[in-house]
């Protein structure tokens, strides 16, 4: 999952990015509104964490312009807690709203919920035959037995599971799982998929030659 964080306070931006990366997300950052809008329009993020008070273009404007083109789930982050600010945020098209100072675990939970809803899977457990993916604790079990996956393997599995029945191209996987600071090595995804197949069974992920990967329904 790839997330964009738009926040002008550098310390907060840094700790948010760090916390999200440690949760296994690919994280892009922007410190100004215009930069944030450019990135938000350029990539299909799975979620955007958006501060309201921004130089260049404030969060409202950014959201309004983004909504003309993309339905990316947006969590507004702001120090304004007047009801009319919250109403305005939700009316402008924000999907969720969190007032600073916030609890980091609450922010992470809200982001998970946003991504689930964005994928049309509001239940935090995904079951594929005897395989159960717990999105909350980021654990996978096979026939009740826990299976240990690397962060990348888990991320690929989760993304494919969220898009079960669809063919997900390699490019899409790169875009959603690697952030702007990652080196893109084209065969890396294949290596991770190989690892997943080894741990969870070869028939879980099907390869569509020339298209990409797919977890069939």
């Amino acid at each position: 999952m790839r997330i964009l964080v738009v926040e002008d306070e550098p310390h907060l931006l840094r700790s948010l990015a760090k916390a999200l990366r440690e949760e296994g997300y690919a994280v892009d950052t922007a410190a100004a509104g215009d930069d944030g809008l450019f990135k938000a329009e350029s990539y299909d993020y799975d979620a955007i964490v958006l501060d309201v008070m921004l130089p260049g273009m404030d969060g409202w404007q950014l959201l309004e312009r983004l909504r003309r083109r993309k339905p990316t789930p947006v969590l507004m982050l702001t120090a304004r807690d007047a009801p009319r600010d919250r109403v305005r945020g939700l009316d402008t098209g924000a999907d969720d709203y969190l007032v600073k100072p916030f609890d980091l675990s609450e922010l992470l939970a809200r982001i998970r919920a946003l991504i689930r809803r964005g994928a049309g899977k509001p239940w935090p457990r995904i079951e594929i035959r005897d395989i159960v993916i717990d999105v909350k604790s980021r654990t996978v079990t096979r026939a009740g037995q826990p299976v240990w996956l690397t962060a990348r393997e888990y991320a690929i599995l989760e993304y494919l599971a969220y898009h079960r029945g669809e063919v997900v191209t390699r490019t899409a996987l790169y875009e959603h799982l690697m952030d702007e600071s990652d080196d893109t090595l084209s065969n890396l995804v294949d290596v991770h998929v190989f690892g997943i197949r080894k741990k969870l069974g070869a028939d879980l992920i099907a390869t569509r030659r020339g298209h990409g990967y797919c977890i069939e329904i």
Binding site: S15, L16, E22, D103, S105
Partner: protein
């Protein structure tokens, strides 16, 4: 309680006025009617008296020649009457023929005994009704010569005023009488009962009271309605005003009649609400900004600490986290101090220790304080300081200068220059800080002294600024009775000039 309502007060005043007017009007009408009625009666009586007097004169054609009155009074004459009859008394007139028998024997041989009534008089006194006109004639000596049959039995000879030959009137019981003393002293009286007239006047008075009461009621009812109508807009305005003050300040009173007094009142209220709304909006903006500025560092502290504590880390990572926390806490301290200082300045609680000091000296100290920061960015500070004496608190003014210098460093270009000047001009001390930085965008120009206002350039260039520095600087300078001005050219730099009065206590 009732009297507190304007409507009731208006009603009471109206009632008072109406009662006054009606009473005055009724009393006047009553008096006019009465006097007119009595005038009519008196005129009738007077005409009869005049006719009778003519009769008396013609009955006694021999008039005494004018001359001094005889010294000798008539025998048997009442001494009190002497003067009365002394006047115009002359030689005895010829005795007239007696047509009607005298009621009393004559006491004076010169007295006429009887009076010949003319046809006119007879017709005037034709009626024998007790309420109609009656007459009586007395001789010079006060002897009743003749009287009509319907004259009341208690008729008395009127008093005679000295030398008065006019027809006079009197009211005796229910009788109105006119009388006249002829030149020779005979008294002619005519009268009639005015019982019916008095009754009529009484009725009129009753009618007036009734009509007055009715008019009063009608007036009060109309006044009550009118007062209600006149006060309804006031009620509407009041209700709207209380609705606005209770809730939405953005609402306005609907001004239907713009030119009336109430329209003016509504306009005044509306402009008051507008000012209140603006001031509330400023206040709300400030609170929102302050909460944003205070919450953001708290958010940093919490996020940083929580993100770090998720799992065990290397010592270097903890160190970095602590550095961030410390830096953030210091920023919060700075912000809190500035907010408190602003609050003190706003409420006039900030203490200034003013004395005559040299702004050049203050500027020099400030420059030395920021020089390390400037040289870090390769910025040169050029000083051109001449003596500038002002009555000021050097510490607070120093704070202003440090603030201006910090801005000049923050917004300067790499290897830029800051020029600091001071001096005296037009009886005021001035201190100027000019930079060669990015300048101030036109859109930001009028807002740079606003609290928490930071232009976009300030946000991107100046992390660490609180957005309160210029607001505080202006408040401090204003408290000294001075002014702070700014001029700027985008891309070339800005110049801030502080002017302080030389001799003036803040």
């Amino acid at each position: 309680m009732l009297v507190k309502s304007i409507r009731w007060r208006m009603q009471l005043w109206q009632a008072f006025l109406l009662v006054c007017i009606l009473t005055g009007f009724g009393a006047t009408a009553y008096k006019l009617h009465r006097s007119q009625r009595f005038g009519q009666i008196d005129e009738d009586l007077g005409r009869r008296v005049a006719t009778l007097s003519e009769d008396v004169r013609s009955s006694f054609p021999l008039r005494p020649p004018p001359g001094p009155p005889p010294l000798e009074p008539e025998p048997g004459f009442d001494p009190g009457r002497r003067m009365e009859f002394g006047q115009g008394f002359g030689p005895p007139p010829r005795r007239p023929p007696e047509e009607r028998g005298p009621r009393r024997p004559p006491e004076n041989p010169f007295e006429p005994r009887d009076v010949q009534l003319s046809a006119e008089s007879s017709s005037l006194f034709s009626s024998v009704e007790p309420d109609d006109f009656y007459y009586a004639i007395w001789s010079r000596s006060g002897v009743l010569l003749t009287r009509s049959t319907n004259a009341p039995p208690d008729l008395t000879l009127p008093d005679r005023a000295d030398g008065d030959v006019r027809i006079r009137t009197r009211t005796r019981g229910v009788c109105r009488e006119a009388y006249h003393f002829t030149e020779l002293g005979e008294c002619v009286l005519s009268g009639r009962s005015i019982r019916a007239d008095l009754d009529a006047i009484q009725r009129l008075a009753g009618l007036l009271v009734l009509a007055g009461g009715a008019v009063l009621m009608l007036g009060l009812w109309g006044g009550w309605l009118l007062a209600g109508r006149a006060l309804r807009p006031v009620e509407v305005i009041g209700a709207a005003a209380s609705r606005i003050s209770a809730g939405n300040l953005a609402e306005r009173i609907d001004i239907a009649e713009t030119d009336s007094e109430l329209g003016r009142l509504a306009r005044v209220l509306n402009s008051t609400f507008a000012r209140l709304e603006a001031s509330f909006a400023t206040q709300q903006q400030f609170v929102a900004d302050a909460s944003h500025e205070l919450r953001t560092p708290i958010a940093v502290l919490i996020a940083e600490a929580q993100a770090t504590l998720v799992r065990p880390r290397e010592a270097g990572e903890y160190r970095a986290t602590l550095d961030t926390c410390l830096e953030t806490a210091q920023r919060m301290r700075r912000l809190t101090e500035q907010l408190l200082q602003l609050a003190r300045l706003d409420t006039g609680q900030e203490v200034f220790e003013c004395h005559l000091c040299d702004l050049a000296e203050t500027a020099r100290t400030a420059v030395e304080r920021v020089r390390p920061l400037a040289s870090e960015r390769g910025i040169a500070i050029e000083c051109n300081l001449t003596r500038a004496e002002a009555n000021a608190d050097p510490e607070r003014i120093g704070q202003v200068v440090v603030n201006l210098l910090s801005n000049a460093i923050r917004f300067n270009r790499q290897h830029g220059v800051i020029r600091v000047r001071s001096g005296a001009e037009n009886g005021a001390a001035f201190l100027s800080v000019a930079d060669t930085g990015i300048g101030i965008a036109e859109a930001d120009f009028e807002h740079i002294f606003d609290r928490f206002y930071r232009g976009d350039s300030a946000r991107t260039h100046a992390s660490g600024g609180t957005g309160l520095g210029l607001a505080i600087s202006r408040a401090i300078v204003a408290a000294h009775g001075g002014s702070i001005a700014v001029s700027s050219r985008a891309g070339e730099g800005s110049e801030f000039v502080v002017q302080l009065p030389t001799t003036n206590s803040p």
